[in-house]
């Protein structure tokens, strides 16, 4: 067993963990933050994406102990009290989900895209940067629309009454 301390969603946490503990296990089982999902468990589907020191990573392929001293943000850390984060609001507004299983990872990936590429995203950029996130319900049309709108909203605009980006045939 080894001691671990990190900051999760702005709060300092400490624990004693088996070195085998993955970051996603630590979040879900130790901290009971079950918004971060385990989909494939083989670093492909992106349901487990969280931000580690501000960068999107797959929490199923990161040891909790590797995050000693780091700052982690999960889907639970996005909303401000009762008010959804603009990206969450955009997914709700544009129906960017069906079963919702991939959604936490999609939203964390989406915020990461905005952090890296800014608030004005074209469809091609969004689709390419969703390479590491898989949705098995709907296809990606509404997810892409939601991310474009959410990105704009993060700059201070509204997610409503916005023209969705032109769609390519899937």
């Amino acid at each position: 067993m080894a001691n671990l301390s990190m900051t999760v969603n702005g709060k300092a946490v400490t624990a004693t963990v088996d070195p085998r503990t993955l970051l996603v296990q630590f979040l879900r089982e130790n901290l009971r933050l079950t918004g971060t999902h385990v989909g494939c468990d083989t670093s492909q589907c992106g349901a487990c994406v969280v931000h580690l020191d501000g960068k999107a990573v797959k929490a199923c392929t990161t040891l909790a102990l590797s995050c000693e001293g780091a700052s982690v943000t999960t889907i639970e850390g996005l909303a401000n009290g009762g008010a959804l984060h603009p990206m969450q609001e955009a997914f709700r507004e544009h129906h960017g989900l069906q079963c919702g299983f991939c959604t936490p990872g999609m939203i964390m990936a989406a915020v990461d895209i905005v952090n890296r590429r800014g608030n004005h995203l074209d469809e091609k950029t969004i689709r390419e940067d969703l390479d590491g996130n898989i949705c098995r319900c709907t296809g990606y049309h509404n997810i892409v629309k939601a991310i474009a709108a959410g990105a704009e909203a993060m700059a201070g605009g509204s997610t409503k009454d916005r023209e969705p980006p032109r769609q390519a045939a899937e």
Partner: protein, 267 residues
């Protein structure tokens, strides 16, 4: 995963001494190959030496005619580095197309090179650019470093510190990705340094990364896409699997080589 002891040294020297303690330790870089392998119980090291806190293994610097990249520098850092984009844009392009954005935030050049997966992208760049792998013990030219599928010249206890790339006058990289897994079926890196031309291929070789001398000779005569017209790589020595047979991969080598030259020449 089977149980293991965990160490997180602060320097490469500390990592080397932990590795020498013989508890069947393995180095952990970005972990995107090793951890999935351990989850499947295909690897069960007695200890992991996590290099993520070794500041001396990180960073990108231009040193004279070389671009030097620390072993623990992530793909995302290489892809977005102004130094890399300016010195060897094809290398930044290559790094920006490894895996997906989340993988690129964790995966490292040292880990990729040490693992020498036959479908990994970096080995093509190292071989074509004539890079040198600097370890805690010696300097290894790329053509001596890669020695077969998942095999390298690294000894037990040897740690990659950095990779030094001579700056090429022209370079390009093109790969054909499996549409599902996104791994390279074939990737071709071409580089021109002075009068020398190198063409290195990943994804296709039965023995891992390899060079294509016929294409190099053709491009040495004239470094242009047209020089590769009619040139076909043999299917002999090319691997075939459910994703692509050897004939198809051999064909893709020619196609990707042309795309790489087009990128290198800006045409």
């Amino acid at each position: 995963m089977y149980a293991f002891n965990y160490h997180r040294p602060a320097t490469a020297r500390q990592a080397a001494s932990l590795l020498a303690k013989k508890e069947d330790a393995k180095l952990l870089a970005g972990g995107h190959t090793l951890l999935p392998t351990m989850k499947q119980r295909l690897a069960s090291p007695g200890a992991l030496v996590d290099l993520s806190s070794c500041a001396d293994l990180k960073g990108i610097a231009r040193k004279g005619r070389n671009l030097v990249i620390g072993a623990m520098t992530t793909h995302a850092e290489v892809a977005s580095s102004p130094e890399v984009q300016q010195a060897i844009p094809a290398l930044a392009y290559l790094a920006s197309h490894i895996g997906d954005p989340h993988v690129r935030h964790r995966g490292t050049i040292g880990g990729s090179v040490a693992n020498n997966d036959p479908a990994a992208d970096y080995p093509a760049a190292l071989l074509a650019l004539g890079a040198t792998v600097v370890t805690n013990k010696r300097k290894l030219p790329a053509d001596e470093f890669f020695s077969g599928l998942y095999e390298t010249a690294l000894d037990e206890g040897e740690i990659i510190i950095k990779v030094s790339f001579p700056v090429a006058s022209k370079a390009g990289y093109a790969k054909f990705r499996n549409p599902a897994s996104r791994y390279a079926l074939v990737g071709v890196f071409v580089a021109k340094r002075g009068s020398e031309v190198a063409v290195a291929i990943i994804g296709a070789g039965e023995g891992g990364v390899f060079r294509w001398p016929e294409a190099e000779a053709a491009l040495k005569a004239r470094f242009a896409v047209k020089s590769l017209d009619g040139l076909k790589h043999t299917a002999k020595g090319i691997n075939g699997d459910i994703h692509a047979d050897a004939e198809y991969r051999a064909h893709l080598i020619g196609v990707m080589a042309k795309q790489a030259v087009a990128q290198a020449t800006g045409k």
